[in-house]
Each structure stands twice: as C-alpha cells, then as structure tokens.
C-alpha cells in the first residue's frame, strides 16, 4: 500500500507540473495574442511575467483567494468553541500544527480545507454543518479534511482552484477581445476568419487541458483515501459515514458561494447535480453511497 509519504511527494510533484503547465498555457496564449496584435515576442514576455507572477500569487495567496471567494470568515473562539475544539483535537491526533478555522454562513452541510502546506492550512465549515452534525459526525468531517491537509492534497487542490479560475477568465477575455474586434487583423479583411478559426482551435485545445487538470485534482481515489485516513485518525469511521448520510438526506445540498473552480475542494459536491454522461464524466466526487458503504465496511 502507498504510504502517506509517497502521497505527499506525489502531490508535491503534481503541484509543480500543474504550475509549469499553467505558465506554458499562459505563454502560448500571450504569444497568440501578441501575434494577432502584430507583436508576438512582446506578447510572450508579458504573458511569461504575468504567468510567473500568477504562479507565485497562487502559491502564497491562493488560500486567502479561495477563502474570500467562498465567503468564509474566521471562526470566533466563543461562538464556535465546538468547532475549534474539534479541529484542535484532530490536529493533535495527526501531529500537525493547528490549521486556521473558518466558517461559511450557509445552510447546507459542507466543508473544505486549503493552504500550501500543513503549516499554512485553513479549514472552513458551513454553519449548516455546525447546526446539523453532532460531535462525532463533525469529527469525522474534520478528520477527512485533516488528512487532506496532512498529505498535501490541499496544495494541489488549491493550485487547481486558482488556475482553473484564471484560465477560464483568460479565455473569456480572448473571446471578448475578438468579439469587439479591436485588433489589427480586422484591417486585413479575410484574416478575421483565420483568427476566429485560430481562437476556436486554441480554445478547443485548452478546454480538455483544463478538464484534465480538474480530473487530476479530483481523482475519486483521493476522496476515498481522505475518508479512510480520516477514519484512521478518529478511529471511528461511523462518524463520517453518518455525516455523509446526513448530507445525502439534507434538503439543501447547494453551497451558494461555491463554483466550478472550487467545487472539488469540498467534502461533497456543493453544486447542483446535472444529468447527462458529459457532466457525470466531470463529477468532482465519487458517488456518496459508495463512500458511505466503504466507511461502513471498515
């Protein structure tokens, strides 16, 4: 069986590859934008600078970006004593420093962890989870998040969240640019058609890469592993199983502040479920029934 240390180094390596890929994509986009504006090398240099700056930003500030995007606020020592005690207990059990604790004002039950390493980690829990889960169930959820923290899943998942968000933003920008038609190629008449074609091709190349990045992050095994590691930590798989059961049977499953870029961070899919094989292929989480079954069998 893979040890925690194998997983940590695998996660670190994947994170590095992702950042490298991102800089590459941004550079290619820059080269392309520069090309259609008649300054290809200028475009490349600018894109490279932006790409590297983004990568550094992602690494150092990605967690705050994700947290503020998710409308999370720091937990209050008095008001959320129950949550803070639970997080502290489980950080003791796993021998890592205590992560910062955040709450999200939200009726549904969900939680996520983010940060670049265990020393700079945060765990966010919805107020719905605090209201609807009892101590052992919350321990189960936090145990799951704690194992994401411990084995550096958080680093990779945070990078994916920011990069997916930014890449989507960038291709959106290109689209708008060519819709407004404010580039020189317009003067060349027939070249416009070529550009439209090129943009189409680039986007066609880009989308599967983005999709693959998401797939990397979410690989269903990662969630199963975090479930199992969490159970090893709390010594009580039933807690998490019961919590997942409650999420499954809850009327409200949607986290308002979650979006496609951050969905894979959560313990259970925070977005509206969509039918169709295409959507199922990009499911960010393994089927909840399977997870419950695996936990009950431990």
């Amino acid at each position: 069986m893979q040890t925690v240390y194998d997983r940590i180094s695998a996660n670190k390596a994947t994170s590095l590859v992702l950042v490298f890929l991102f800089v590459l994509i941004v550079s290619a986009l820059g080269l392309f934008m520069g090309y259609i504006m008649g300054l290809p090398w200028f475009g490349l240099v600018i894109a490279l600078v932006i790409g590297v700056a983004m990568a550094i930003f992602t690494f150092t500030e990605g967690d705050s970006a994700v947290l503020s995007l998710s409308k999370a606020r720091l937990a209050d020592k008095k008001e959320h004593a129950f949550l803070i005690n639970t997080v502290e207990g489980l950080s003791i059990a796993s021998g890592i420093p205590m992560p910062k604790v955040y709450v999200i004002e939200e009726n549904s039950i969900n939680a996520f962890a983010t940060g670049r390493d265990p020393k700079h980690a945060s765990i966010a829990v919805t107020t719905g989870a605090l209201k609807k889960l009892n101590r052992v169930e919350l321990e189960g959820v936090i145990g799951h998040e704690m194992s994401h923290v411990k084995n550096y899943d958080i680093r990779m998942m945070m990078i994916v969240a920011v990069l997916v968000g930014v890449t989507a933003l960038l291709s959106d920008m290109i689209f708008r640019m060519f819709r407004h038609g404010n580039f020189r190629s317009r003067d060349k008449g027939g070249a416009v058609l070529l550009v439209i074609l090129l943009v189409g091709i680039i986007l066609a190349i880009l989308s599967p890469i983005i999709a693959q990045m998401i797939r990397f992050a979410i690989s269903r095994k990662r969630e199963y592993l975090a479930d199992a590691d969490g159970a090893l930590l709390t010594r009580h798989p039933k807690g998490l199983a019961d919590a997942l059961e409650k999420i499954k049977n809850d009327d409200d499953k949607i986290v308002d502040a979650a979006n496609k870029a951050t969905a894979h961070l959560y313990i259970e899919n925070p977005l509206r479920k969509q039918g169709g094989w295409l959507n199922r292929m990009f499911d960010t989480h393994p089927p909840i029934d399977e997870r419950i079954k695996a936990l009950r069998a431990m």
Binding site: M1, K78, A81, F82, N85, T86, E88, G89, L90, I92, A93, S94, G95, R135, E139, Y224, L225, A228, A231, L232, T234, R235, H236, P237, M298
Partner: protein, 185 residues
C-alpha cells in the same frame, strides 16, 4: 594488499555512518514521544484548571449533591500529585469517571443546564476530554513505533549501546477506540 585496506576502511566508514543514522533516528523518535507527552500534559492541565469553575457553577444549583463534589475534588487532587505516565493515566481515568457522574447529576437540573456559563464549561470540558483522547492516541502511536524500533535487530544494538529504554503506554480502561482496518482494492 593495499586494495584490502581500502575496502576495509570503506566498510568501517559505512558502518560508522549507519550507526550515526540509526542513532539519530532513535533520538528523533524519542523527541517525538516527549512532544506528544507534553501535548497530553497541556490538555490535562487545561482540564485541571477548568474543574474548580465547573464545581462552583454546579454548586450554585445543586448544593446538596455533596458526594459528587468531593469525588471530583479528590480525583483532581490525585491528578496534581501524579508524576509518572502510569500514575497520570490512572488519575486521568478516575477524573474522567467522576466528571461523567457530575454531568449526569447536572442532567436533573434544567435551570443549570440552561445556564450559559455551565454550557460553555461543558463544551470546554468535553472538548478537552476529546483532545486528551487524541493526544493519548498520538502519544501511544509514537510509543509503539519507538518501542518496536528499539527491539528490532539491528537497531536494538544501538539502543542498548546508548541506553534507549522502552517507553510506557498511556493506558485507559476500556474507553479507548479501536483502530480501524482499512484496505484498498
């Protein structure tokens, strides 16, 4: 002739390096246990400090439940005098038991249960209780790794040379959660 000398020196060098590495690993493990132990100590101290406050609050509502109060106070006192791992484990068990009966008594007083201060103390204490359980778990896991290591050949030779002795487990009576079996595929 010279080649044998070089081989011998290299072998001695490797052997020396191995001793250093094995020694450092043992020191590492022992430090981890000491850290884990201080974690337990912090939590035990925290509970120790919370108790007088709790007793005072409960007394305000349930004055005549004298027996529970003396039990808790006695258990707390024995905690203070406990020094070794075993003594502390024993005192911890006793204290946990008496606290449980104190909270059971509190169940009969709705006014007390509604008291804001009491509710906060109850949350703090059960939070501390589970932190004690978790730090104990972490400590015991580390002790197990360390104890196994110093008994295994060839590390046991190093352990014997530098006087690494077995550490005690922090035992509890029956309240321990069992380890779960996890398997993939």
């Amino acid at each position: 002739m010279e080649i044998w000398l070089i081989v011998l020196l290299v072998l001695i060098g490797i052997f020396g390096l191995w001793i250093v590495m094995a020694y450092n690993r043992l020191v590492d493990l022992r430090t981890k246990i000491e850290n884990a132990w201080s974690q337990i100590d912090v939590q035990l101290k925290r509970r120790y400090d919370l108790i007088p406050n709790l007793v005072e609050t409960v007394k305000g509502y349930a004055r005549h439940e004298q027996k529970v109060f003396t039990d808790v106070t006695n258990a707390r006192a024995s905690m203070a005098s406990a020094k070794t791992v075993q003594e502390k484990a024993k005192a911890d068990n006793m204290l946990a038991g008496t606290l449980k009966s104190l909270f059971a008594v509190a169940e009969a007083y709705p006014d007390l249960k509604a008291n804001e201060n009491f509710r906060m103390l109850q949350e703090e204490l059960s939070g501390t209780e589970s932190k004690i359980a978790y730090s104990r778990q972490f400590y015991n896991d580390n002790v197990m790794v360390y104890n196994t290591k110093i008994q295994q050949f060839p590390t046991n030779v190093i352990a014997g040379m530098f006087n690494f002795t077995q550490k005690e487990f922090f035992k509890t009576e029956g309240t321990e959660r069992e380890n779960v079996k996890v398997s993939f595929e």
